[in-house]
């Protein structure tokens, strides 16, 4: 059974069709890159997947369950985690408390108590390498640490699917390599399917994705293994424009 299936999903904002008849399928443990230029509907697609918006048409299935109109707080415990492009920590809370929130509310049983959550938080924080920062306020972390904290917060939810919103934007190339390696390792260990949204930094996609889905003006342009997708002339055209007539 597939982990996530979108069937002809359309989301409009007034006259603007942000997501246009998109169908896609994500398998368990798969690493998928969603690529597309600015305004191509990537963020809206993410928001439809985790329930911030409900689509006007089409269906969303998670592990066979129809979640098309399920509110976000009910989707998270099913196993849908998310990180944001600009990290959104709960700034006044400590790193430990931030991550504990993920364990407390984001897991399926819904019965993880405060003590257990803090324990899970400690383990997860150690895993992402933020141990010495765990009692700092999350707002005082550096941007890279905030990203790691968001990943820890999402991991504490024990997700089956992790939506990563341009996780590499604004990072130094060396950090990107480290981060990519880390994410790949975690995903394999925990059998998490990752859908990473990428706007510019192709290097990250090439490094980790098995499959790439290219969006253009809300519609799906290409859905193919990474190398094939990135060499597709349609994709090149979307990014660089049509080659000059000879």
């Amino acid at each position: 059974m597939s982990l996530l299936i979108l069937e002809n999903v359309t989301k409009r904002f007034g006259g603007l069709v942000a997501v246009d008849q998109v169908s896609l399928e994500i398998k368990h443990g798969e690493f998928v890159g969603i690529v597309g230029p600015n305004g191509s509907g990537k963020t809206t697609l993410f928001n439809v997947i985790n329930g911030v918006f409900f689509p006007e048409e089409g269906k969303v299935f998670f592990e066979g369950l129809d979640i098309t109109t399920l509110p976000p707080y009910k989707r998270a415990p099913l196993g849908i985690g998310r990180t944001f492009q600009i990290p959104r920590p709960f700034a006044s809370a400590t790193v430990r408390e931030n991550v504990a929130v993920g364990a407390m509310f984001g897991t399926l049983s819904g019965k993880v108590n405060v003590d257990e959550s803090l324990k899970i938080a400690d383990q997860t924080i150690e895993r992402v390498g933020l141990k010495e920062h765990r009692s700092k306020q999350a707002g005082s972390l550096t941007p890279v640490e905030k990203k790691l904290m968001e990943i820890a917060r999402a991991l504490a939810m024990k997700p089956k699917l992790l939506l990563m919103d341009e996780a590499m934007a604004g990072m130094h190339p060396n950090d990107i390599d480290q981060m990519v390696a880390f994410i790949k390792q975690v995903a394999e260990e925990d059998k998490i399917a990752i859908v990473a949204m990428v706007e510019h930094i192709m290097r990250a996609v090439v490094g980790m994705a098995e499959k790439v889905i290219v969006l253009h003006q809300g519609a799906k342009l290409v859905d193919a293994p990474t190398k094939e997708a990135l060499e597709d002339p349609k994709v090149v055209e979307v990014y660089l424009g049509r080659p000059p007539e000879e």
């Binding site: 985790n50 911030v52 509110p71 976000p72 707080y73 009910k74 998270a76 415990p77 998310r82 944001f84 959104r88 920590p89 709960f90 700034a91 006044s92 809370a93 408390e97 504990a100 929130v101 993920g102 407390m104 509310f105 984001g106 897991t107 108590n113 405060v114 003590d115 959550s117 803090l118 009692s135 917060r153 939810m157």
Partner: protein, 333 residues
């Protein structure tokens, strides 16, 4: 998380403050008035902190819950006065009535207004407060703008002497009990899932939703809890201390503003904050109006501005950060 008795350490400074106030009021002659006022401000701050401090939503109509609480007590006394032999039970019925009315109003307001955020929420709640006041006056509900006066009924039910000590002493003790209960509830909320959910939604509501938090549920929990304490406080401090109720007095937005100042001065979302805020606010207001009558607000405003600028997280917020890693830290949350 702390085990056993250590869990309750943060209550020590709170209760020490209340005990100190009580002893000063009881033993220093002429101080009870001031102590009663300080207890009221501390209780008001603690009640409001459960909502404003923990969720970050500013309810400008907060005083409406105190208003309906006052009416709850007033209605119980005026409507039930002719039943013989109720005695002190009538006060208990009054508190139940106050709780009931505050809960009802908070459910009604919460269901609609909590869908709004930021300034929209604040404006909607002002509307509730003013609307309720004009509804009571205009539609002549509960005697309209003439209000309810029930000194005679209190004297008749309890006897003149009991009624008098009720007004001058026991009403203030009830305020103290309300403040202490609010402190317990606040600590319980901070330490439980509710506190984590509220912190998360205060900092970033959309991220909280995506993390699996049913934000509406937790906002309503905080809203109702806070409203219930306001209702009780109105019943104790306004209805019992001064046995009459007029709409313009109990729906006076001034009290909401005072509550906001107290919470922000002390440190919003902290346990000790509203107590410290209430003491600073109450003491400055009292002595400034004695020493420079007429000009107190002129001096008071800059004092508040200075404190807020120096300690943007409130006095207790600052102390909490400073002593986070020391032994003192476990007493300050």
């Amino acid at each position: 998380m702390k085990k056993g008795i250590e869990k309750y350490y943060p209550l020590i400074p709170v209760f020490a403050a209340y005990l100190g106030l009580f002893l000063i009021g009881k033993n220093v002659s002429g101080m009870w008035q001031l102590v009663a006022m300080l207890l009221f401000y501390c209780a008001l701050g603690q009640a409001f902190n459960i909502f404003l401090g923990m969720t970050g939503y500013v309810d400008f109509g907060y005083v409406a819950f105190m208003g309906v609480g006052t009416y709850g007590m007033a209605l119980a006394i005026t409507k039930l006065a002719h039943f013989e032999g109720l005695g002190i039970a009538i006060i208990i019925i009054g508190f139940v009535m106050a709780l009931f009315m505050a809960t009802l109003l908070s459910l009604a307001v919460g269901a609609v207004a909590l869908r709004l955020r930021g300034a929209y929420f604040a404006i909607a709640t002002i509307g509730v407060n003013e609307g309720l006041r004009f509804l009571i006056e205009g539609a002549r509900i509960w005697n309209g703008s003439e209000g309810l006066i029930f000194t005679a009924q209190l004297n008749q039910i309890l006897g003149r002497e009991t009624a008098s000590t009720l007004m001058t002493f026991w009403a203030d003790i009830m305020v103290l009990i309300i403040a202490v209960s609010a402190a317990f509830i606040t600590l319980y909320y901070i330490r439980s899932k509710i506190g984590y959910a509220l912190t998360a939604l205060r900092e970033d509501e959309d991220a909280a939703k995506v993390m699996g938090i049913n934000v509406t549920k937790y906002k309503i929990i905080a809203f109702i809890t806070s409203a219930c304490f306001a209702g009780l406080l109105g019943a104790a401090s306004w209805a019992l201390k001064t046995p009459y109720v007029f709409p313009p007095e109990v729906f006076e937005i001034h009290y909401t503003i005072e509550a906001i100042i107290i919470v922000l001065l002390g440190g919003s979302g902290t346990l000790l904050g509203p107590v410290v805020g209430g003491l600073i606010y109450g003491i400055s207001k009292y002595y400034l109006s004695i020493f420079i009558p007429g000009f107190q607000l002129l001096i008071f405003a800059p004092i508040i501005i200075i404190i807020i600028v120096l300690f943007p997280e409130g006095v207790v917020g600052m102390l909490k950060n400073r002593f986070k890693d020391s032994a003192l830290g476990q007493f300050i949350i």
